[in-house]
C-alpha cells in the first residue's frame, strides 16, 4: 500500500508542478506582450518585470505547494503519534498533551501560520505548555476552560505576551460527540486567516478527539480496571 500511496503522491505533486508552471508561464508571456504592446518601456523596467515575476511566481508556488501538501503532510507527520498511542508508549493524558504541543509547534511552521507555543488542557488533568519555559506567561486556565466549553468552534482569544513577544491566541475546544474533553490554546505570531483556522478545526476533528479518547480509555483502564471513561461506557 505504501508503494501505491507514494506513487500517487509523486503523481499528484508532478501534475501540480506542471499545471502551475504552464499557468504561470502563460500569464508571464501574456503580461509581457500586453505590456510591450501598450507601453514603450525602458529595458530596466522589463528586467524588473522578469525578476518580480520570477520571485513572485516562486513565492506563490511555494505557498500553494505548502497549502496543497498540508493535509497529506499532517497525516504523514502525525502517524508516529498514532503509532505511539497504539503501542501504548503514549499511555497518559499528560504524555499526549506534551506530544501534541511539540507536534503543533514543530509542524505548523509556515508563512503567516507559525505556531509559537501551545497550551493543552485536558478535563480534570494538569495543563501542559510547550515550550515548557513559557508556562508562567500563559493565560489563566480556568478562564480558557470555561470559554472552550461554551463552543465547538475554533475562536480568537485576543493578544497575549509570551516573554517579550506579542502573540495571537486561538482556542481549539476538543469535543468527542457531546463530551467536552478539553482545549488547546494556540499562540501564533500573526493573526490566522480563515483557511488556516479551518486547518486547525480539521486537525481537531480528524486527529485529536479520537486519539485523545483512546489515551483516556487506556489510562482509565490502567487506573480503575474499568471501561467507563468520563461517563461514556
Amino acid at each position: 500500500m505504501s508503494g501505491n500511496s507514494n506513487f500517487l503522491s509523486i503523481l499528484q505533486s508532478f501534475s501540480m508542478v506542471v499545471v502551475y508552471l504552464f499557468s504561470i508561464g502563460f500569464i508571464f508571456v501574456g503580461g509581457w506582450f500586453l505590456l510591450n504592446s501598450i507601453f514603450v518601456l525602458p529595458g530596466g523596467f522589463l528586467a524588473l518585470y522578469v525578476i518580480i515575476f520570477l520571485l513572485g511566481g516562486g513565492l506563490l508556488g511555494a505557498w500553494l505547494w505548502v497549502l496543497i501538501k498540508l493535509p497529506s503532510g499532517i497525516a504523514r507527520a502525525f502517524d508516529p503519534i498514532k503509532n505511539k498511542i497504539a503501542s501504548r508508549q503514549i499511555a497518559s493524558a499528560e504524555d499526549f498533551s506534551v506530544e501534541i504541543g511539540k507536534f503543533m509547534v514543530d509542524y505548523f511552521s509556515f508563512f503567516r501560520f507559525d505556531v509559537v507555543a501551545v497550551q493543552v488542557g485536558i478535563k480534570d488533568r494538569k495543563t501542559t505548555v510547550f515550550p515548557q519555559a513559557l508556562i508562567q506567561h500563559t493565560p489563566d486556565e480556568t478562564e480558557l476552560q470555561t470559554k472552550s466549553m461554551a463552543t465547538e468552534e475554533v475562536f480568537y482569544n485576543g493578544i497575549c505576551t509570551l516573554e517579550d513577544r506579542k502573540c495571537h491566541t486561538y482556542i481549539i475546544p476538543i469535543w468527542f460527540g457531546k463530551e467536552w474533553l478539553g482545549y488547546i490554546s494556540v499562540f501564533s505570531d500573526t493573526r490566522l486567516n480563515t483557511i488556516n483556522l479551518n486547518f486547525l478545526k480539521e486537525f481537531e476533528e480528524l486527529y485529536l478527539d479520537d486519539q485523545l479518547m483512546h489515551v483516556l480509555y487506556y489510562e482509565n483502564m490502567n487506573q480503575n480496571n474499568t471501561l467507563n471513561i468520563n461517563g461514556i461506557s
Partner: protein, 382 residues
Amino acid sequence: MEITFSFILIALSSFIIWRSTDGFELASDFLGRRLSKGIKGATINAVASSMPEFLSTIFFLFYLNDANGFSGGIGITGGSAVFNILVIPISIYFVLYFSKGIKKIPIARVTFLRDGLILFVMTGFVAWVVNNPQLHWWHGALLTAPYLGYLIYLFFTHKKILGKGDNFSYNAKDKKIHFVDFAMINLEKMVLRGKTIRVTNAWWLLMASIMVMVAGTWMLVYATDRLGEDLGIPILFVSVILAAAASSIPDTMISIRDAKKGNYEDAFSNALGSNIFDISFALGFPLLIYTLLNGAIIMDAKIIASSSDLWFGLFLITGLTILIFIIGNKFNLGKTILLTLLYLIFIGFVWADFKYHIDFVGNVVGFVKDAFGIKKLNEVFQ
C-alpha cells in the same frame, strides 16, 4: 570625473550586494534548516551565493536588450567563475595565515575531483555555446538542463537522503535601530527588530534582502555600462573583471567565514558549487527567457571572438586549478602562489585580448580545420 563616479557606483553596488547577501543568507539558512545537507546546498545555498550573478545577467540582457547586453552576462558569469575558483582560495589562505597562523589547509580531494569535473565539463560546454553566431532558446535550455536535472533527481530521492539539519541557532539582536544600522544596511536588525527569527519574519527578511539585492545589481549593471562607454571598452571586458569582482564579494565573505569557523571543506566547495550554479542557471535561464520572448540573439563577430577566448581561458584555468587542488591533500603557500599567477595571467590575457583582438579560439579552430582539411570539405559541400 565621470569615470570616477562610475567606479564609486561599482564599489557602492558591491557593498549593497554584500550587505543584502547577509540578510538573504540568514533568512534562507533559517527557512532551509530542516532540509538535508545535499538538498540545502543545491537549492538554498546555491541560490544565496549566486543570486547577484543571476540578477546581473537578467539586467544586462533586458536592460541593454542586445547581443552586447548578453556579452555583459557572459563576462560577469565568466569573470565570477574565475574569481571564485582562484581568488576565494587565495583569500582563504591569507586570512587563515594571518589570523590563525595556519600554513597548510586540509582539503577533501574527492569532493574537489567530483565537483571540479562537473564544472570542467560545464565550462567547456559554455565555451562551445558562446562560439555560436546565433544563440537560441535551446542553448539556454541546454545550459539550464543539468541544474534542473539535478533538482529533479533530488526531488525524487530526497527521502533517501538521511540526516535532517535543524541545528540552526540564532541570538536575537538589540531592538534599537541606530543610524549606523541604516548606513550599513543591516537588514537583519531593521526587519527582525530584536525578535527571534521565525518563519514569517524570515520570509519578510528574505524578500527585503532580494529587493535590496535587485537595487544593488541594477546599479552595478548601470555603472558597468557607463564605465564601458566612458572608457571606450566593450562591456564584456569591464564586466569580466570589475563587475564580476563586485558580484563575487559575497561568495568570498561566505567562504572566509566558513574557513574561520574551521569548515574548510564548505569554504572551498562553495567556490566550486556556486560556479556550477552560475554557469548552468545564472547564465542559462536568463538566456532561455530572453530568447523565448525576443527570438535568437545575433552575436557580433568581435563579441564571439572575445567571449570564446574568455571561456576557453576559463576552461583551461578550471582544469589547471583542479589539478593543483587534487595533487596533495593540503592547500599551502606554493599552491596559493600558483593560483595568484593564474589570476594575473588571466587578467593579462583579457587585457591583451581587448588590446590586440587575439581571437585565439578562432585561430586555433581555423588552424585545426585547415590541418584536417575540414574547410575544403565544407567548401565542396557548399
